[in-house]
Symmetry: C2
Subunit: 423 residues, 2 copies
Amino acid sequence: MTAQTLRTEQQQQQPPAPGVTRRRLLGTATATGAAGLVAGGTGVTAVLRDTGDESVPLTTVGATRVPFHGTHQAGITTPLQAAGHLAAFDLTPGAGRKQAAALLRRWSRTAARLTAGEPASDGDTGIALDAGPSSLTVTFGFGHTFFDRTDLTARRPAALAPLPPFSADALDARRSDGDLWVQIGADDPLVAYHALRAVLRDAGETATLRWQTRGFNRTPGATAEPRTARNLMGQVDGTNNPTPADDDFAARVFVPAAGQPDWMANGSYAVFRRIRMLLDRWETLPLERQERVIGRRKSDGAPLSGGGEHTPVDLGKFGADGALAVAGDAHVRVAAPASNGGAAMLRRPFSYDDGLRDDGAPDAGLLFIAWQADPRHGFVPVQRKLDRGDGLSRFLRHEASALWAVPGGAADGEYVGQRLLEG
Amino acid sequence: MTAQTLRTEQQQQQPPAPGVTRRRLLGTATATGAAGLVAGGTGVTAVLRDTGDESVPLTTVGATRVPFHGTHQAGITTPLQAAGHLAAFDLTPGAGRKQAAALLRRWSRTAARLTAGEPASDGDTGIALDAGPSSLTVTFGFGHTFFDRTDLTARRPAALAPLPPFSADALDARRSDGDLWVQIGADDPLVAYHALRAVLRDAGETATLRWQTRGFNRTPGATAEPRTARNLMGQVDGTNNPTPADDDFAARVFVPAAGQPDWMANGSYAVFRRIRMLLDRWETLPLERQERVIGRRKSDGAPLSGGGEHTPVDLGKFGADGALAVAGDAHVRVAAPASNGGAAMLRRPFSYDDGLRDDGAPDAGLLFIAWQADPRHGFVPVQRKLDRGDGLSRFLRHEASALWAVPGGAADGEYVGQRLLEG
């Protein structure tokens, strides 16, 4: 009896999943032969898997494969992976459009191989041997400066204009921005590191690493059933994320197929912020104060206005004491879509821990990554509001920032960015 | 049908596992009710689990619990965990034996709670909420300097004498040694970070962090069946490790129950080395050259003298070309127990990746941790030989070092080190 047939029989014995919280959007488990469903509107081949009481075998962790080729790049709607690397590159002096095109071709070929569980090349490092693809994704983006370096300034999207400054910013330019961006995610940290080494090798003489950072999320199976992630403040983080089941999901997250510029069709814009958490300060706050700052219960993420994690926040509700149940400066109030003209973005972060700083404080927090069709209607208005009125901002430091134009996915035989670089 | 009953039925249908390579030593899956077997001689309560073709549910990852109390401390024979932190502390000026005893009592209480999946205290950070204990272990050790600071110099073990210098050492004192050591491991990185924050909080005014570093290993289920780990050179690493099935396992790894000093009964000595890998240089070597340096095939770890991964290395075998099949300076030859008087230690490392150094080289490699009853008969003679003749040493830099006396496990109601600190 194989793992797969076992799962299928169990599914027949199980009642339908009671709700979306018991489901998880997964990349196609090609290696185990699972049938794929196309999630509405996103073009991402995916399986909705009920893992409530079902005995999903441990071996699916390594075997799960997320296709590299498709309408959109992988690593945007892919479920959070346990390990990730973010790397930004600058083109070397003398490297222009032609060399950049060759690099993106190399990177795309490598990503296609690695995400299929194959070695990158004959000289593969072997770090990922024995492990399956482990939901590896490799996602590529272009920064504002890329277009000047490649004489493509005229084709730079207006949406890629540099993010405005925010009053709470304490940005380190050396860990911000860049010509090119690679996001790597996998459920196994050696598989992720293997991909990073292959990407660095491909960069060759064309691009040098500008900055890199690594992060993590829950290991598959660490929770008894799929749950909204927690961050290093211990807070449930991501409850209000749009989901592919939402009617306007694709419109919020992806540039339309007929959108402008044409080479960004089906692409998305990624905002990266390295957000250090002032954990020593945060952890001295009593639980009730922490919950007031967020506007949700820490235990289960339920809004302080009542209900469960997924109950809509009632911003107008008053408590028995006559005060607003969700405080005026609570994070969920200030960040709520209703408060900023319906702006929404798909937040898909990693946590990070880089040890202690010289001042003794933990150098840890969130590698915030937000995906949207246009940052001028996504991250920027939300962050403007948070910057002014969010009680949580006293416990956060934005220390690095970047904005990336992430083209649509490559078809088989294409490379990412080909419509820009050869268009 | 629960996951557990399912697993039991499957086991009945399965033939016995063909060999030790298809078995994995696991902590007791208390939360899922698995029956425990006591592995011979080690006193560690453990389950030998066959995961060959068996559908082990993903949910066991979080539910697996490794008991804190026992004859030996946990985290020595526990299978490699996916995430780890190593932290060294120095007692603050003015803190002596009494304060150290109180700290070890706090740390032991916290470790007992966290490894059971419970919060550390009322003010728990909540980072591990939703996840089970995820095989969390927290292991405590004492460094050479601890005994002077606590007026316990007379009870310092002779085996804790500082390690001798080696010619290839390039040690950073700030990242080496320390009064106290905490090793944290868990299969979920947030569970591991949660434990680190709790340990730091407990240190309070008694001890300050001297250094910390974090590492990783394979995620459970990333390989289709349990395999010997690979390191960031892509090499199978750990094939020759002693296993609890060996007659002399306990004698090699643990101080005897009647051993000296008495407070180290059932304890062990941990050698830590931060070993940076010169990956840029290593990865330019052709596969055949890499395999010659190691003495094993990269693909499956089989010795170049023939057979499979677990075939004993035939150091006297010559190839068709008249040369030794395993080269004179091959790592497996120089490290082989037969070459150094039978010395053996249990290597239980994590890989690490701290990004790029200022010189552009990867700051990545192995957090080498070796466990033995006496480092003078374990790590020291092996490293002396490697230091002289190992072809692999050209690709490694030992950048930090420490030696820890790790007492036996605490019984319920005791704390680790109690027999030293109250003896």
